[in-house]
């Protein structure tokens, strides 16, 4: 397929999925009627379903999906490791401890997000310090991230051991990555920050291309250590913001960049926008699927991405071996 046609098909599919996700749910609203309902103004139930329930949730999925996916792209380039993902640095573990403690003390949603954010930043600082000590080596960073994640998940279980069952359940829901809590104000603020960070990553697209080929190669072409540190922090912030607002949603940052690389090639000029859109749409579709599968229950988006992403990834690996990078 010609590149232009690929882009057109991709964007059309993304827009189509958006409309479908607005329609789908426990009450089906025909796509053709959506413009009419929206222009009719507030009042009818269907308007409230679309604007108050579905839209904020979809927007949240779009923003979180795009952030996680771009964060994955950056980590894979900076660490030169195709298995790196937004949580490589232990961001999710730190956020989980923060959020679990906040929920155990029945704090407000805002404080849960704040503690989760603090926890994830703590994890990043720790992993960064370790790898810095070892001369910023990618392997040290991945290993420190894994070690810290194990420590932190034990800490979460420890908190559970001292917490009343109802709070444990609430915390578990958070850990599974639940988007049903989306509110416009929060989504909008997050969208602004995420867009800025994604835009910043796009400015670094040439750096990312060069970095992917190796440290010494990149150094010889004029990429400084400062550039790499900046990219590390952009990637970590994208992950920390997502995880603190939406919980732990796995596989988006690993799966989407791989698929996009397969479709659009490894050039970050195309890979970053494609992954942003692809990640956004993937999480939106996963969350919608979670809403639809067993009504009236909401399956948290993190579970759907885990299943869908894991299966899809497995098929990809079996079919393509290591060659799809």
């Amino acid at each position: 397929m010609k590149p232009v046609i690929k882009v057109v098909v991709f964007i059309t599919a993304a827009c189509g999925l958006f409309v479908l996700c607005m329609s789908a749910g426990s009450i089906f609203i025909s796509p053709l009627r959506i413009p009419e309902i929206l222009s009719g103004g507030p009042g009818p139930v269907e308007y409230r379903i679309l604007v108050d329930l579905r839209l904020p949730r979809i927007l949240m999925a779009l923003v979180v999906g795009a952030s996680l996916s771009v964060s994955g792209v950056l980590f894979q380039a900076v660490l030169k490791n195709p298995l790196a993902d937004p949580y490589t640095t232990g961001v999710s573990g730190g956020a989980a401890v923060g959020a679990t403690v906040a929920i155990a003390f029945s704090m407000s949603y805002f404080l849960v997000a704040l503690l989760a954010f603090g926890g994830s930043l703590f994890a990043v600082f720790f992993v960064y310090a370790v790898s810095r000590y070892r001369g910023l080596s990618g392997t040290a960073l991945v290993l420190a991230g894994i070690a810290l994640s194990v420590l932190l998940s034990s800490a979460v279980l420890l908190v559970f051991a001292f917490t009343r069952a109802e709070y444990v359940h609430k915390a578990l829901l958070w850990l599974m990555g639940d988007l049903s809590i989306a509110k416009y104000g929060m989504v909008m603020r997050m969208a602004v920050v995420s867009m800025l960070l994604v835009g910043l990553s796009f400015l670094y697209r040439q750096h990312l291309n060069v970095i992917s080929f190796g440290d010494e190669f990149a150094h010889g072409l004029g990429v400084s250590r400062g550039d790499i540190i900046n990219l590390f922090w952009i990637a970590s912030l994208l992950a920390a913001i997502s995880v603190s607002l939406a919980g732990i949603i796995g596989f988006v940052g690993l799966l989407v960049p791989h698929v996009m690389r397969y479709i659009f090639g490894p050039d970050h000029n195309r890979l970053i926008p494609a992954s942003a859109i692809g990640g956004a749409v993937f999480l939106m579709a996963a969350d919608t699927l979670g809403r639809m599968l067993v009504p009236p229950y909401d399956i948290p988006a993190g579970i759907v991405t885990g299943f869908a992403g894991g299966l899809f990834f497995l098929v990809l690996v079996i079919r393509k071996g290591g060659a799809y990078q």
């Binding site: 291309n209 060069v210 992917s212 080929f213 190796g214 010494e216 150094h219 072409l221 004029g222 090639g265």
Partner: protein, 263 residues
């Protein structure tokens, strides 16, 4: 004009010094080969020159200025590096890969197609791989890939090129093609400094040889002065015979099987 000057350089990694008291001067327009046994510190010396690692002692000047005083981008416009290990898993096309060489000359906000496109085509031509321009880096042979690495460095249009074993693992034909490209580039004024395992290629192509052993300069000078049989035997601890290439009149080294010195 000195491109590089270095005095009493020491360097290494994590508590292990690899290079001891190296003095060095490279003039503009030279074609220098760094030779020596495995572990002698050849790659480390190259990394010092490229600024990838810093010396633990001593100074390196590039064009009269300390290497550390250049910004990375500034330095990369003057000096290109072909490292030994490059990630070969990325499916960029050969042309896209060549374009990476424009990186130090580009502004961050430059988008896509640039007027320097001709530079890339000219470099692919010079490396004789224009016919591969739309092939993917993952699909071409090892020799072709090495030519692409060199073309990428040519795109950088720097006055100095550093190469770490550009012809190891290659057949004779590709090795000669690569050395010819470097030779042509050197004739146009580019200073070339390369680590070579093959002493005969060093003898044929280079104007000067620096021989390293155990982290010290074992000998240096024109090929005919450095590649005497005493020197080569001492350098590699291997019995060998040095004659003369009947065509080029350069020294020709061949080993005598079964004799490792000290056995």
């Amino acid at each position: 004009m000195n491109v590089f000057t270095a005095d009493s350089l020491c360097a290494g990694y994590r508590n292990k010094e690899v290079l001891h008291d190296i003095d060095l001067a490279v003039d503009e327009g030279e074609f220098v080969a760094i030779i020596g046994p495995n572990g002698a510190g050849k790659s480390t010396l190259l990394r010092l020159l490229s600024g990838y690692i810093a010396p633990s002692k001593g100074n390196i000047h590039f064009m009269g200025r300390p290497v550390a005083a250049y910004t990375r981008r500034e330095f990369s416009r003057e000096l290109s590096v072909v490292p030994q290990f490059v990630n070969a898993d990325l499916s960029f096309t050969v042309r896209e890969f060549g374009e990476l060489g424009l990186f130090p000359h580009r502004k961050i906000l430059d988008i896509g197609v640039s007027p320097e496109g001709e530079t890339v085509d000219a470099a692919l031509d010079a490396a004789d791989i224009s016919h591969l321009r739309d092939r993917r880096m993952t699909e071409i042979s090892g020799g072709e890939r090495q030519l692409a690495y060199i073309a990428r460095a040519l795109v950088q249009s720097s006055r100095v090129m550093l190469l770490d074993e550009p012809v190891s693992h290659l057949d004779i034909s590709h090795a000669i093609r690569i050395m010819d490209v470097l030779h042509a580039q050197n004739r146009q004024g580019t200073t070339v400094i390369t680590v070579l395992h093959d002493v005969n290629l060093a003898a044929e192509y280079c104007s000067r040889i620096i021989a390293l052993k155990n982290g010290r300069v074992f000998g240096e000078g024109e090929p005919r002065d450095v590649l005497t049989y005493e020197n080569v035997e001492g350098l590699f601890d291997t019995v060998c015979i040095v004659t003369e290439n009947p065509v080029s009149k350069r020294p020709l080294v061949y080993p005598v099987p079964g004799f490792i010195r000290g056995n």
